[in-house]
Symmetry: C2
Subunit: 912 residues, 2 copies
């Protein structure tokens, strides 16, 4: 170890990189800040000279029981000599003093976790001499008192209050309010007070020897790696404890001197992405003044007039940095006596919009590849761009004024403002008839609430989780939605929503933030983007599609258009389909036919059909009435999606979902009975509904089971599908219907029903005299279907994973209750890494999916496999779908752009 190099000058970064072996390892060796300072020095950016004590030195120091490793201090002294040479100043020399800062810098940024000591090298003698030289006693004593304060608290571990209290008292005595009122004399006196504090608390004097200051400060930074605060932070952020920190010793530069200034800037606009310098600048100020906003900063361009040379240098540096880092940079700089010094550079944080624009611009400028551009935008950023969002400041203000109402699960993103209504009918009426903006507020929602939900700007429920009915429907239709706001109580009799003391009455305005899960009283300002206008985003998504197609092709996708993982959409209505197509969907992966059954003019017919019981004739009569409606639904869908596949799922939910609420009926009947009245109709209806009751409806009579018991319903649906497709074809379009049978668990279920349905299809085509391609396939949502996929693929021509139900059954979690009852706690406690209803559980459900695809394709090589569950719009899940070789993911139209980007990311991350 004795020959080890512990200290690296910023100008020796080449040496460090050689020792480390890679730039990543150099960042680990020097810490992120030290490596960047070295990097800037290397590429010729003016950086105040300095050096870094490496993380290896830190680790050696800590391992040795807080002893510098052999040779380190000698290297540090030698480095200081080199810096003296570079700056032409001398550390501790009163005539030409070199002052330095001492800052920590680990591999990963740990903002605020570890400390800084500035102005090292000052002492009584140097201070006096500096005053004589620069003729600014206030500046020097201000700097000196800062050193003593920081040294006392950071290096000597004296409580901060011991320094802050004397300052407060002094100001009080003098009647000052601001630090700026302090004079040179005041700071001088305070410096003396601070030195007395150190003497009193430590029993020794503040060290006047600059090298002693330097040594103790270096040690303090090393030690701070194992401080309580740093350890807690690393635990929370998942950073390893054995990395160690580097120590950066850097020449001080001062913007608060004569012909000096300081500023922070972004190389491009971080809000819009515009390629234009964006930042703040203050003449005669220190960096912290800009950050703290004590004085009103000016636009960065004003600097051009004051320091034209420094400004020109700055522009050049910014270009150089962008060119070097291939990223928009967030920089700090100081001008000291008209000379520019760069103090820091890092990749700049930006809004979603800016991220897209910058990525696209940089690719078009040739700075980065299109692949890099696509990789740099996250699917979450695209999500943000597609929904109206509250303006941050407006939200902050609302929070401060006590308008915060309640928090819940952020089920469907976007901002919604409207008046509260507590039931679907009223919500629809107020919206349609009075043109009001409506927020529908319910304990939870059911399928027969959908008309109210569709009429609402936003939805708030007090029960349910991220995949509850309300959440699913809201996401499907892009309606901002917060669910499970369990701190709120709804009283449907008094028509109020109560949270603690806050009471919201029906008709009151509230604002619902589906992105964050918060709700507020009153109206908060929001901004609403549109995809069509976001030309940068459209360009980026186009590149994403190209990359997915060229990188994402898997060998088992043979016989299928070689476009890698496609993105399809879940859409029930022609309008949704058109939107999906305009968002780039390559097909419809799920059209749920039962939503159509809930429409007001149809529901009574549906109920007649159900109540027919064993009377097949009555049921058929009802179905005959439904047929034209269904045909009309599908007609528009096929037309909108001409040339692209449209998967239509046959009826899936248990029949009781179409019936009136059992509890309400029961209460009415009991009430009547107690009063000695009878309600024969209601009693009969109640009995019928009770007969439909199931203990666990999710595992009950639904999907294909219903079709086996009553083939008439799906027969009608298939007739409607093929009649519509035939009509559309005759009008010159290209329908591509795919009929999907839900909830299959055994191949015999398909063998029972599919031939009957194929016969109807053939019959319709023959009668209409047209032909077109079609498929019959099944959802995979029952674990047994996956386990026996080889058998099922003998009959099914395509598989579509219904991962909501598949997750339910594979975990044995009821998604209606699980989140409320235990799932949230499971995720909080880390029992589950993530909510499996939001992101595919790769170890369990995901493995079953993989097995299913393998078994299915073993039987039918060109089996079309996709996903139409909620997970189809989740980027992490989309990556899994790519890995197991699905043909497409299908998601809500609003998530199509997100999924397109996620698909490209998956293809690029795993490209061969």
């Amino acid at each position: 170890m004795s020959n080890n190099k512990w200290i690296y000058l910023f100008s020796d970064v080449d040496q460090a990189e050689k020792h480390a072996g890679s730039w990543e390892a150099t960042r680990a060796l020097l810490g992120g800040k030290g490596a960047n300072l070295g990097e800037m020095t290397r590429i010729g950016v003016p950086v105040p000279p300095g050096f870094t004590a490496s993380t290896e030195a830190c680790n050696a120091y800590l391992e040795a029981g807080e002893q510098f490793p052999e040779g380190m201090w000698d290297q540090e002294v030698a480095a200081m000599a080199a810096v003296e040479k570079q700056t032409d100043k001398k550390f501790g020399d009163p005539k030409n003093p070199l002052l330095v800062s001492c800052r920590s810098g680990a591999k990963f940024s740990m903002p605020g976790m570890m400390d800084t000591v500035l102005n090292i090298g000052l002492n009584d003698e140097v201070a006096e001499s500096m005053i004589a030289m620069i003729d600014d006693a206030r500046f020097v004593y201000d700097a000196y008192r800062r050193l003593v304060h920081m040294f006392g608290s950071v290096v000597l571990n004296i409580d901060d209050e011991a320094f802050e209290e004397p300052l407060d008292e002094y100001k009080k005595e003098k009647g000052y309010k601001l630090d700026t009122e302090m004079t040179a004399e005041d700071w001088k006196k305070l410096t003396e007070t601070y030195k007395a504090v150190i003497k009193e608390q430590m029993g020794f004097e503040f060290p006047q020897d600059p090298y002693e200051q330097l040594k103790l400060a270096t040690e303090a930074v090393f030690k701070s790696w194992n401080g309580r605060r740093a350890i807690n932070y690393r635990n929370a952020a998942g950073i390893a404890h054995d990395l160690g920190t580097g120590v950066n010793i850097q020449t001080m530069v001062f913007g608060n001197m004569d012909k000096s200034g300081t500023g922070v800037a972004f190389t491009r606009n971080p809000a819009t992405g515009e390629k234009k310098l964006y930042g703040d600048y203050l003449e005669n100020a220190q960096g912290e003044d800009v950050v703290a906003g004590i004085r009103n900063a000016e636009d960065i361009t004003t600097m051009q007039a004051t320091f034209p040379k420094a400004y020109a240098d700055f522009l050049e540096v910014c270009d150089k940095l962008e060119d070097h880092y291939k990223e928009m940079q967030d920089v700090e700089f100081t001008v000291e006596h008209e000379k520019l010094w760069m103090l820091q550079t890092r990749d700049g944080k930006r809004t979603a919009k800016a991220a897209v624009t910058i990525a696209v611009d940089m690719a078009n400028e040739g700075l980065i590849s299109r692949e890099d551009a696509v990789k740099r935008v996250t699917p979450e950023q695209v999500d943000t761009l597609l929904h109206p969002q509250f303006i941050d400041e407006a939200k902050k203000k609302a929070q401060e004024t006590g308008s915060f109402l309640v928090s819940g699960v952020n089920a469907s993103p976007g901002a919604a403002v409207g008046r509260v209504y507590f039931d679907a009918d009223t919500a629809e009426e107020k919206s349609k008839e009075d043109g009001q903006d409506v927020i529908m507020v319910r304990p939870f929602t059911k399928p027969d609430d959908v008309h109210g939900m569709l009429a609402a700007k936003g939805i708030l429920t007090t029960e349910g989780g991220a995949t509850s009915h309300a959440a699913v429907v809201a996401r499907q239709f892009g309606i901002p939605c917060v669910v499970g706001a369990s701190a709120a109580r709804i009283n449907l009799e008094t028509r109020t929503l109560t949270v603690g003391d806050l009471v919201v009455k029906e008709g009151d305005w509230i604002s619902v933030d589906g992105t964050s899960g918060e709700s507020f009283l009153g109206r908060i300002e929001s901004v609403a983007p549109s995809l069509e206008e976001q030309t940068d985003l459209l360009e980026l998504l186009g590149w994403a599609d190209e990359l997915t197609a060229s990188e994402g092709v898997r060998e088992f996708a043979e016989g299928w258009p070689t476009r890698g993982l496609q993105v399809w959409a879940n859409a029930d209505y022609p309008e949704d389909a058109r939107r999906a197509r305009s968002y780039g969907a390559q097909g419809i992966g799920l059209c749920r036919t039962e939503h159509m059954f809930f429409e007001p003019e149809r529901l009574p017919i549906v109920q007649d059909m159900i109540l027919a019981g064993d009377n097949v004739e009555v049921r058929q009569a009802a179905l005959d009435k439904l047929l034209p409606y269904q045909r009309q639904d599908f007609d528009g869908l096929f037309e909108a999606m001409t040339g692209l596949p449209v998967i239509i799922r046959l009826i899936d939910p248990p029949l009781h979902e179409f019936m009136p609420d059992e509890r309400e009926l029961l209460e009415a009947v009991i009430e009547a009975r107690v009063k000695g009245e009878t309600l024969p109709e209601k009693e009969a209806l109640l009995e019928d509904i009770e007969a439909l009751h199931e203990s666990n409806p999710m595992m009950g009579l639904r999907g294909v089971r219903l079709s086996v018991m009553m083939p008439e319903i799906v027969s009608m649906q298939v007739r409607a599908i093929f009649e519509a497709a035939a009509d559309v074809k005759l009008r010159g379009f290209e329908p591509k219907p795919e009929v999907m049978i839900p909830l299959t668990g055994h191949v015999n279920e398909l063998l029972f029903i599919q031939p009957k349905l194929e016969e109807i299809a053939a019959d319709v085509m023959k009668t209409k005299g047209v032909e077109f391609d079609y498929k019959f396939g099944t959802m995979i949502e029952i674990p047994r279907a996956g386990l026996t996929a080889d058998q099922i693929a003998e009959t099914a021509e395509f598989f579509s994973f219904g991962t909501n139900d598949l997750t339910q059954f594979t975990f044995g979690y009821s998604r209606d209750d699980a989140e409320r009852n235990f799932l949230v706690k499971y995720v909080e406690d880390g029992i589950l890494e993530m909510n499996p209803f939001q992101t595919i559980d790769r170890a369990g459900v995901g493995q079953l999916m993989k097995l299913t695809v393998e078994k299915g394709r073993a039987t039918r090589t060109d089996l079309e496999c996709g996903i139409c569950g909620e997970h189809g719009g989740d980027p992490n899940s989309i990556e899994w779908c790519h890995l197991i070789g699905l043909n497409y993911v299908s998601c809500s139209p609003f998530r199509v752009p997100i999924a397109r980007l996620a698909a490209a990311h998956a293809a690029l991350t795993h490209k061969k």
Copy 2:
């Protein structure tokens, strides 16, 4: 083909066997009857001579468009010559006529499906001549009219009525009631009438040429293979259509002549199995007289006095046949002029009891091996022996007198007679206080009905399936039970059970047959066996265990006592455990702790615990009260099972199951509200219960999820388990507790709770100062647990398949509803081969189990794997458990003997 042999003399069976290659193929070639006649001939049993036209001849005849194959008729004529030689009679010779029968005989028995022609060889001349010789005109004309009738209907396809009508008219004219009143003259006249019928219907005379009779009869039998009746039978029985039938031509012998007789007999008693000839005998009668019971038959032994030589021969033949076939035989014989002729032998049908006794006796006699003895008894037969059964005749009589009530699912076997009560409390009261035999009748049962069920002799429900609560509990406790008797309606207000017009009032007697699923009005006689007295069965089960142990060892069972598949029992109480042990259980595979929570003095404490909500102190206080009860439960269990493992499952069901009925409370609250009253306590309770409500409770907050949310309950349980085990150990017994965590879906659930519980275990053992072996493990009932079994086995020390729930989740079937809603139809329609809740679905659930065992043992080689679901007592499922290498199956104590036999069958069937 021309050199083919089509006809085989009975005495040429060696040649047939040589041609066919095996005895199995000989049966296919000659048909079962022909092969057996040959076989008897071969071993020297006196069989009337004859020959068989082979099935190959039949197939050739049918293929050639109903043409005898070349050479066949010549061979038949030659065979007849050989028979003439053997009998010293001549076919068609009036002086010494040979008469023969012509019978079909296919490879598989098709009783009643194909026809027989007797007395071929008779004609006018032969008849007259015979009368002269034997001086019995009535005998001869009776035989002749039979020939003409059979020939007319079988060979010439004339409607049977054409012959029956003239006979009826004739008897009417004469004033006869019985055929026996017909004189020789009468039969002669009828024979003429019959001949006229043929002439009239066919246009030709009844053929007088015996060879023409023979030829046409042979052809008729061939043709009958393709008759509608035979085809339908084969379709229903799953017999191939290309087998063809043989034709057996055999010398007629007559028991209704002088010094003649006939009989049927079993070589051992088919009811008891006793090694003693058992049968009926009639002097001077024909075989059909014995079968039809026209005259009272005498015991077979009476024949000794009449025909001592023939009787002695018969005994010898019986021994010879048993010795040859190694099976109890069911034989038919005729004595003609004091000479014994054997007409048929086959393996005799027998009762379950006889099956066991015969198998054990034969093994002990050295006739068969112990392995064969074990194989010959079916698990179903053992089942029958363990439950009281109604006497068949008594049941038949009840059926005839209109006492049949209703039919349902035969959920738990055995016969029960008692008075009907419609709720658990009344049932318990009537049983305990009045000493009545009680049948509990309910729409369905819930856990808080268990006290009434335990007090009942039998259970009848109108809802639910084979794995409903009622069914499971009934099987567990060996209570006869019929569920899902859906044709019956229960009116709990009028306290009646109604089926059509039949009304059963509370207190009325009914009889419930859990073996068949039937119920009857009134009391039906039954017989009740006991295992201890069934020494033969005990001996057989002992052999079964030895064979399982020696044949069933699998290599992956290393590190585990090498006994092949063990049989453990599910038992909650010491009494069950003692019974299980006496039935041969090698451990307790499932002790359900929650049944203990339902006991009357405990339930209020349990409810306090639940209603404590977030108040941990209140919950802990309730748990402290429960601890001594639980400790006491386990104490007796460990003592009873000393030296054997006892798996105790921690609390599993959702908490709402312990609460009062929601609906009743709701009605009370609404009633009060309507009356303007308030019931604050009930309202509060209702609110609490509603808070526990889940949409799909099977997939809700239960099992380990409950333990993660409220670790206090299982902490108490584990403390009780280990305190009890310690106490038992201190008293000198050997407790082997295994703690089972239910419903695990993710290894992190175990990692969360198991260490806490292991700490408690260690603490108890330290405090009590004793040590003993124990394990912590988990149920596998969530598909995800199986899919990630490698991870779960890192923490769990044993797996126990909860196949009820595993089947539920893997199929997505709610077992509370599925049978009623679609499962019964699925099985009826063949969509499912069998009810997966009764027999493991090997393709789906079974594959998942196999995968689970493989993954689990990949992590932990000596992982103990067993099954504690209902399937553990099902023979087909037990075979699967053997195939996938489980260590044990665990089932209801009453099924332990059945499972022991099934385990042996599995081991023997798949032995290497």
